[in-house]
């Protein structure tokens, strides 16, 4: 069943800690960050590791000249725990164009104290 799916209340979500839910046959990870709520498919598009056990950060390495290291702080980054592939938490795109595979991402809506994940295909 597509559309909006309740995944808890705002108070249920510890900052930067994923909670998972099985929605419409999909394992979805939902996280509250300083930049809002985000929902991702919990399986890494590489080899299926549990992305919700990965490292969530606000920094990664920006493209630079050789042997210069420049931090990028313009996005939230989720790194897979198995092979450290990094994905943009908002878009699902791989950081650094290391692959064309994307992490699945879903819109999150907060209505009052309730948190909903919108899955594609339904009108909610």
């Amino acid at each position: 069943m597509s559309g909006l799916h309740g995944v808890g209340t705002v108070a249920d979500f510890e900052l930067n800690r994923f909670r998972t839910a099985s929605l419409d046959g999909k394992e979805i990870g939902v996280v509250r960050t300083r930049r809002g709520f985000f929902a991702v498919g919990s399986r890494c598009p590489h080899q299926g590791a549990d992305l919700c056990a990965g490292l969530l950060t606000e920094t990664t390495m920006a493209p630079s000249r050789p042997h210069e290291y420049v931090l990028s702080r313009d996005r939230l980054v989720l790194a897979c725990p198995w092979h450290r592939w990094e994905f943009d938490l908002e878009t699902g795109r791989a950081i650094g164009a290391i692959t064309r595979k994307r992490m699945a991402v879903y819109p999150v809506e907060v209505v009052g104290d309730d948190v909903f994940v919108r899955l594609p295909g339904g009108d909610g």
Binding site: T60, M61, A62, P63, S64, R65, P66, H67, E68, Y69, V70, H83, R84, W85, E86, I95, G96, A97, I98, T99
Partner: protein
């Protein structure tokens, strides 16, 4: 077809003396200095090759197969300098070798092109050598042996800059002392004890330097540079490329200057010579070749050491790849071909 690896042999030290300053000439002629043998090639005697005409440019030109349009001269005797402790002498020696080849070999046949030899120890001396000869008609590349400083190190940046600015590819070739002499490129593990180990493990040196080039961002800094591995084989390259791509994906934060997979960088900037060091006469070798980008391979005879004409060496290459190998060399040298 361009032969990207033809070794001109130098007959006698006396041939080089006119190309040295008087002090250096006196020093080498009245000391223990000896003209290096063609040591990268075990079991090959310069004297024996001299008798076969390997030191005579006219005879060598006459022996070129009909299919060869041009032949790049790579002075094997200028490659053993990594083990020399006198870096100034090494630079003076390769300068004399280059002057001799420009003077005697290039005019001998319009098909000859020259890879000017570089001594790798001191970049300013190598740059001076590039500046000295890059404007000479027929100079189409530079050739350098490898030392214990890997090719990704900043040590070489002035050399890469000078080559890039002049459109000269850099060919790297074994020098014969890899893994055996302090200062020469190392071979891993505990080091070889026998020549058989050395030559079996020689591709390690190329692997280490290729990885160093790619991961240290040399081609990001010098996007016009092409590096040609000659004398190391190529069968080992596909697995290195796969591994490099895999490591890059997971460890990109350590090399954020690499904005595309190493395989793409290598396809654009690196070539491997199918010469005597490659097992080109075994069918299985070409299964490896098929795993490399089509841009990767060029042909080299390795004459006079392991002289095999292009028809024979590439006989087992898949249809279409032979033509591509020929085209790759044309692209490699561009206007300098």
């Amino acid at each position: 077809m361009i032969d990207c690896e033809l070794h001109p042999l130098i007959d006698r030290l006396e041939d080089l003396l006119p190309h040295m300053d008087e002090a250096t000439a006196l020093r080498v002629s009245q000391s223990e200095f000896r003209l290096p043998p063609a040591s990268p090639h075990p079991g090959v005697d310069v004297e024996a090759r001299r008798l076969e005409g390997g030191t005579d440019p006219v005879a060598v030109a006459a022996s070129l197969p009909a299919a060869i349009d041009r032949a790049l001269l790579v002075a094997a005797q200028a490659m053993p300098t990594p083990g020399w402790l006198d870096h100034g002498l090494a630079a003076a020696f390769v300068e004399a070798v280059n002057r001799h080849l420009v003077d005697r070999w290039l005019p001998a046949d319009p098909r000859f092109r020259l890879a000017i030899a570089l001594s790798p120890h001191q970049a300013p001396l190598a740059v001076r050598e590039i500046e000295r000869h890059a404007g000479v008609a027929g100079v189409a590349a530079a050739a350098m042996p490898l030392i214990a400083v890997a090719m990704g190190h900043e040590h070489y940046h002035p050399v890469y800059r000078a080559l890039s600015e002049r459109g000269l590819p850099l060919l790297v070739h074994p020098g014969g002392s890899e893994g055996e002499v302090l200062g020469a490129a190392a071979i891993g593990g505990t080091g070889p004890r026998t020549p058989e180990e050395t030559f079996t493990l020689l591709p390690q040196v190329a692997q280490a330097n290729l990885a160093s080039l790619v991961f240290n961002g040399v081609f990001e800094l010098f996007p016009e540079l092409t590096v040609v591995f000659a004398g190391w084989g190529f069968e080992w390259a596909p697995t290195l490329v796969w591994r490099a791509d895999s490591e890059w994906r997971g460890l990109r934060v350590a090399v954020p200057w690499l904005r595309r997979p190493p395989s793409e960088v290598i396809a654009e900037h690196v070539r491997f010579v199918v010469d005597g060091a490659a097992s080109a006469l075994r069918p299985g070798t070409w299964e490896h070749a098929a795993l490399l980008p089509e841009s990767a391979l060029v042909y080299g005879s390795d004459a006079p050491f392991d002289a095999v004409g292009p028809e024979e060496r590439l006989a087992l290459a898949p249809a279409g790849l032979r033509e591509r190998i020929a085209e790759n060399a044309v692209s490699l040298f561009g206007a300098r071909g």
